[in-house]
Amino acid sequence: MKFVDEYRDEAASHQMLDAIRRTVTRPWTLMEICGGQTHTLVKFGIDQLLPPEITLVHGPGCPVCVTPLELIDRAVAIARRPDVIFTSFGDMLRVPGSDTDLLSVKANGGDVRIVYSPLDAVRLAEQNPDREVVFFAVGFETTAPANAMAVYQAHAKGVRNFSILSSHVLVPPAMEAILSAPGNQVQGFLAAGHVCAVMGYWEYEPLARKYRIPIVVTGFEPLDLLHGILMTVEMLEEGRHGVENQYARAVQRPGNLPAQEILKQVFQVTDRQWRGIGGIPQSGLGLRGEFALHDAEARFGVATLTAAEDARCLSGQIMRGLCKPEECPLFGCECTPEHPVGAPMVSSEGACAAYYHYRRA
C-alpha cells in the first residue's frame, strides 16, 4: 500500500533507531496523546526497541478512554429505547458505564449498530423516518469535522430524526492540563498527526513557548513515530523548544481550513469532563444553538444523568503519566480487558490495555 508500506520498512526503521541511540545521552520522558500512535507502538513492538533512556508515556489520547462515565450512561439510556437506532463506532461498544455497556444493551434487544462513517447514520435516519437515529459522536479534532458535516447535512436536508450524542474533546487544553499539573514529568510531546491535519499546529506554539518544551507533529506508521521521537530527542539534547512537523506529507501549519469552517458553524467550544482527569475548561465541543434539534442529550432528556466513577480506578493519573498501569492495585486481577474497571483497560489503545499486553510479554 502506497504511503503505508514504505513507512513500515525494517531497514529504515532500524536506521532511525540507531540514530536515536546515537543521539540520546540521558533519560527523557516523552508523551504521545493519540490512541492510534499507542496502537502502532504496541503493534510493532517499538517500545521495546527504543533505548532504555527513553520513557514513552501514553497520554489521554484515546477518546474512548476520556469519554465521561455519565455520557456512557446517557448513551445506554438512549440506546435502550425501542424507538431508537443507536449508531456508533466500534470503539465505544465495550466501554463500561455505571452498570452496563452498549454491547450488552444490544445483547438485550437494543438496536445498536456499528457504522463506519457518521454519514451512514444520517442515511439510516433517511431510510427509517419512523425511528430516531442517534449517533455517538466521539472523537478528537480529527473526527469532529466528519461529525459536523453529518449534522450540517441532516439539518440542510431536513432529516429531523437524526441527532448526535456529542463527546468531542480538544487536544491543546489536555496538553496544558498535563504540563501545568504539579509533578509533571513529561519533557516532550509527540502531537497527534491527524488532529493536526485538521487543526494545524499553530495552536501548539504558545504551549511550547510557555513550558519550554519540544512538540513534534508525528504520523502513525512505525517510521513516522521513530522519526518523530528522534526529532524530539534531538531538540531535548540540544536544549531547544518549539514545534516541528514530522508528518509534513499530510500536515500544514494552518491545518484544513474548509474543515475548520464547518466546525465553527456547527460546534462551539465548551467546558468538558475528561474521564479520570476531571473538568478541563474549554476543552470540548458542543452543538451550536441552531442545531439544537440534533442534540440527543436535549432531545431525549438525559442531560441530567450523572454518575460516580469507581474511586479505585487510577486512569486519571495513568493518563497524565503520573503512575504506571502496573502500579495500580487492580491491574491484571480485578481489572482486565474481560472485566475492566475503567476505560483505559477496554480500548485497545488505552494505556492499561496496552500495558496488559506488554507486561505479559
Partner: protein
Amino acid sequence: MGSLLETMRETPVGEFASEAAVAAAAAIEVPAEIPATEAPNPALGACPLPMDDYPTVVMAHGGGGRMSKLLTEQLFFPALGNPLLAAFHDGSVLEIGGARLAVSTDSFVISPAFFPGGDIGSLAVHGTVNDLAMCGARPLALSAGFILEEGFPMADLWRAATSMRAAADAAGVQIVTGDTKVVDRGKGDGIYINTTGIGIVPAGVEIAPTRARPGDVVLLSGSIATHGIAILSVREGLEFDTELRSDSAALNGMVSTLVDRLGRSVHVLRDPTRGGVASALNEIASSAGVGISLDEARIPVLEEVRGACEILGLDPLYVANEGKLIAIVSREVADEALAILRAHPLGTEAAIVGEVVEDHPGRVFLRSRIGGRRVVEMLSGEQLPRIC
C-alpha cells in the same frame, strides 16, 4: 451407527461416493455396544460459569475467542464432560473395532446467506469436511439439519441445497441423512444449517493439538482473513466495493496428500475459522503447553484484504478463514510440507510462518515487520472495527 453403515454399504458406488471410502466403511466391524461414557455427576449442581459476569449469552460467546472457550470449558465440559470432549479439538476420534472413526459437528448461521465466493450451503459442507480433515480423517459422510424461518424463499433454499450438493461432490462426500425444522417468522435468521460428519482416520496418522513440540515448524496454506473481509464487504454499515471472494473450500484433498506423504510427522492441523489464526494458535499453544513464535513478514495477506483491514481498523490475524489450514509439522519435513501444500491448487500461496518453541508456554508471540516483538493475545470476544 449400524444403520448408517448399512446405508453406506447399500449405496451403489456411483458418481458421488468414492470407492475407497465405501470400501473402508464396509470393512469396519461394528461392536454390539458402543462403550458408554461416565454417568453424569450428581454433585455437579448449579452452573459453574461465573453467572454474575454473564447471566445471559452474549455474541462474544460465539466469537471463537476467549469467551467461546470459557463457555465450552466452564459450562459445557462440566455438564457434558468426558475425556474425549475435553481434548478440545474440532472433531473427536472414537476407537471402534480397531478403526478410528472421527466425528465432528458445526452449525452455520452466517448472514447474508449468499455472499461473494460462497453461500451458507457450501460453507456448511466445507466447514465439517474440514473439521474432519483437521483430525487427519478422510471424510465419508455428512448429515444436514436445517432450521428455516417461516417466509424464507423457496428459491433460496433450493440454491443453498444444490450448492451443498456441488460442494459435497467436489469434496468426495455424501450427505446421507438430514432433518428440517421451521420456526416462526422472527425466530430465525432465514436459514441455519448444522452439519455433522464422520470420517476414518488412517493408520499411522496422529493429529492432535497436544502433539505440537518445540522445534516444530508452523505453516499456513495460504493468505489469511479473506473470508471474513469478503463477508464484511456486504455487511450493512461497513460495506465497500471489492473483487474479494470468500476462500471457502474443502481442504480434505490437500490434507490427504500431506498426511499420505508425511504420516506421523504431521503433528497438528487446524482450520482457523472464527477467531482467526490468532485464536487457533493460542488454543494449540495452550493445549500442548508450548510457545509459538510467528514472523509477521511471512504471513501471506492479499493486498485488498490488507486495505480493508487498514480502513476498518482490523487485525487480519483475528479474521475468519474458511479455506485455509494451519499445519504444524516436525522440522525435518518442513520444506517438503511446504512443497506439498504449494503443489495443491488451494495451497499455492502456502508459507512457513513460524515455529514452536519452549519459551512462553501457552502463549503466542510475533516478530513485527520492523523487528519488534509483541504478544498475540487470544481475542476476548469479537473483534470490532475501530476508528482510533
